[in-house]
């Protein structure tokens, strides 16, 4: 039982990690707590569902279309809505993401208001047994993908030239700007990547949560909890935070009471922020 709880905890935790990763990228680019990340999540799932069902594209093409669309949406949002508010106080940026969340929900509700549709998993197939532990192919795919993304990010930020530039731009924007780095463009690209990450997480979890306009909200809080646990603004922190949160939830549900599953995220946020605000891997930044 324990092994099963931990393994499926990691599987769910990987999705939380993906969400938290996307939110951290957005946070590092425009230091904004993104209340509409849940909606990127939902749009990503819809952007696969619609072409898959109505236009009959292959799953692969739908996937590419969805990630590309969300990349564009992320950039458009940054360019059109966030940049003009750049000099505004943080609270206005947070408010803009709230407005966006309503907008995306309103629009998708207009077309898919009523029914809740199932998105076929990327990898269907019956469960695979590892001794006593059992996993669905979809779970393994999620873990594999998240591992891939994490390695890609690690290599990009640590090893490549552009990675260091992006890192500099997000750490000290003004300094980077003065030394000739096109910070606005980087910020724009990071929004695109963040939104696409959200879409990917949405597509991976959609077979479980099913696709409907409000699917994002529930995951938003998990993303916050993972970011907080791992350390606000720290990329590795987001991944570790997500996975630890997933395992916590399953253990709490399995051993204590299944009613606790829901509030594990909230307890994590409160305890971590009051005791160790920089989280597990975050560095001692001014707390907000």
């Amino acid at each position: 039982m324990l092994a099963q709880l931990i393994v499926s905890g990691i599987a769910v935790g990987c999705v939380y990690a993906l969400i938290a990763l996307g939110m951290t990228i957005l946070f590092r680019s425009t230091t904004v707590v993104n209340f509409c990340h849940g909606e990127f999540f939902m749009l990503g799932a819809f952007a696969v569902l619609v072409p898959l069902q109505t236009l009959g594209w292959s799953y692969g093409w739908c996937l590419v279309f969805s990630l590309g669309l969300l990349f564009a949406v992320g950039m458009a949002v940054e360019r059109g809505l966030m940049r003009p508010l750049q000099s505004a106080p943080h609270i206005s940026l947070a408010m803009m993401t709230v407005a966006l969340s309503y907008l995306f929900k309103g629009i998708s509700r207009f077309f898919y208001g009523r029914e809740v549709v199932a998105l076929p998993p990327l990898m269907a197939g019956d469960p695979v047994f590892f001794g006593e532990v059992v996993l669905l192919p979809q779970d393994m795919l999620i873990m594999g993908l998240v591992l891939l993304v994490v390695v890609a990010f690690f290599v990009f930020f640590q090893k490549t030239e552009i990675g260091k530039v992006v890192e500099a731009a997000s750490q000290t924007p003004r300094g980077a700007f003065l030394s000739g780095i096109n910070v606005p463009l980087l910020r724009n690209l990071m929004w695109g990547v963040g939104a696409a990450m959200g879409a990917l997480a949405g597509i991976l979890i959609a077979p479980n949560t099913l696709v409907y306009p409000d699917m994002g909200g529930h995951m938003l809080v998990r993303g916050f909890a993972a970011m907080t646990l791992g350390g606000f603004g720290s990329l590795p922190g987001a991944v570790v935070g997500g996975i630890v949160l997933g395992v916590f939830e399953n253990l709490a549900g399995g051993y204590l009471s299944s009613a606790l599953v829901d509030i594990t995220a909230y307890l994590v946020i409160i305890i971590v922020l009051l005791i160790r605000p920089q989280g597990l891997l975050g560095w001692r930044r001014d707390r907000g």
């Binding site: 077309f111 009523r114 809740v116 949560t209 409000d214 909200g217 549900g253 299944s258």
Partner: protein, 392 residues
């Protein structure tokens, strides 16, 4: 597709509301040639699936208008969207009662919203209210003179689920997995009572929150309890997760679930026939949708809403509407609310052939439907069954 529903719905309203001008409506919502009926339900929001019963009811009212109306009057239907939010429901009912001055209200899909307007209805005992689809027992128990409940209540559903589970030969160990909200609680309590009456206790009770994406911990607890049958009191999204994970973790016990879901929809969502082989769903209707006897109602439905899906839920609102129409006819031309409610109280074994059991309202008991059967996929075809099939 959604856009069409809205226009379809508003069109239904427009047709029904032809003689809108007329002189000032009588305070009780009845004029020389119209009876004004207020309706509310979730047209938008997460539970917008609850708009299907509303479409069913408006289809009946539209059909009545087209076939000559009632005692020379046409039905004027006003629809309000409450998105299953109790605050919006309270505002909607106050608007219908005091601004639109409707004769009666027929509506409510989420139990929480109906409970929210119960105090308002208590303050206006003369105002008739017919429940659309909300099933919570607390709506009609203790009985309230002006609240009529034409749907199998959660108590009826819970009792039928327990009886069905125990009809499986040698079944003793019953497990329950449910939401911890009002809807869940209003099923669990009567189920526990029924089990206790049989000298039994649930071997495991697990909670699965709305919107959760993983049920591993709950499933492992259920598997450890080795149940003979599992009562799953879950909405469609969470039931899908349960069925898929139960199959994944090898829980072979049959799953008995409520009328909050439709069998075809669940099979489509889970997508894995093995996971839905032993799924038994409480069935609120008398026949399966493709049964010949049902054609009449399906035609009425598609006439009013051609572009909308035809599902089990589409017909859940019809019984209530037919009961209203019947009582209006019996109340005769000089119609008053008191007469209408008196007629409803006299409705005995009213069975238009839609719902799972005869509808009976008595002054002491406004929970009209006491019987229900189960439906399951028997080699690809939905089949109604009242006890656990031998083949199993």
């Amino acid at each position: 597709m959604k856009r069409s529903t809205l226009s379809g719905l508003l069109a239904a309203v427009a047709i029904a509301a032809m003689p809108l001008a007329g002189q000032a409506a009588d305070t009780t919502g009845v004029t020389a040639d119209t009876i004004r009926i207020g309706m509310f339900g979730p047209l938008t929001g997460p539970t917008a699936i609850g708009s299907l019963p509303l479409l069913g009811a408006t289809a009946i009212y539209r059909h009545v208008n087209e076939t000559g109306g009632i005692n020379g009057r046409k039905l004027e239907v006003l629809v309000e969207d409450d998105a299953c939010d109790p605050n919006k429901t309270i505002a909607a009912t106050k608007k219908l009662m005091s601004q639109d001055k409707v004769f009666m209200i027929h509506g409510g899909w989420c139990s929480g919203t109906v409970m929210a307007i119960k105090p308002e209805l208590q303050r206006h005992p003369e105002f008739p209210y017919m429940v659309l689809g909300a099933a919570s027992t607390a709506i009609s128990t203790p009985v309230q003179a002006n609240i009529f409940h034409p749907v199998a209540t959660t108590a009826t559903v819970a009792r039928s689920m327990v009886d069905f589970a125990l009809s499986k030969p040698g079944a003793k160990r019953i497990a329950i997995i449910s939401h911890s909200d009002e809807w869940g609680k209003s099923h669990i309590e009567p189920a526990l009572a029924e089990l206790k009456a049989r000298g039994l206790e649930p071997v495991e009770t697990a909670y699965l929150e709305r919107g959760s994406t993983d049920a591993t911990s709950q499933l492992l607890r259920l598997r450890a309890a080795k149940p003979d049958a599992v009562l799953a009191i879950l909405y469609p999204p969470e039931l899908t997760i349960y069925l898929r994970d139960a199959n994944k973790y090898g829980i072979k016990a049959p799953t008995v679930t409520t009328q909050g879901v439709s069998l075809e929809d669940m099979v489509k969502r889970v997508g894995n026939p093995a996971a839905t082989r032993e799924l038994y769903v409480f069935y609120p209707l008398s026949r399966t949708l493709d049964d010949a006897g049902f054609k009449k109602w399906k035609d009425i439905y598609t006439a009013a809403h051609p572009k909308d899906p035809v599902e089990t839920l589409s017909f859940m609102g019809m019984t209530g509407a037919l009961a209203v129409v019947e009582a209006l006819k019996r109340a005769g031309p000089d119609l008053t609310r008191e007469k209408f409610m008196a007629e409803l109280d006299k409705l005995r074994d009213f069975d238009p052939g839609i719902q799972s059991g005869p509808l009976t309202f008595t002054p002491q008991d406004h929970a009209g439907i006491k019987l229900g059967k189960m439906i399951y996929m028997k080699d690809g075809k939905p089949t109604i069954v009242s006890a656990y099939p031998a083949g199993g």
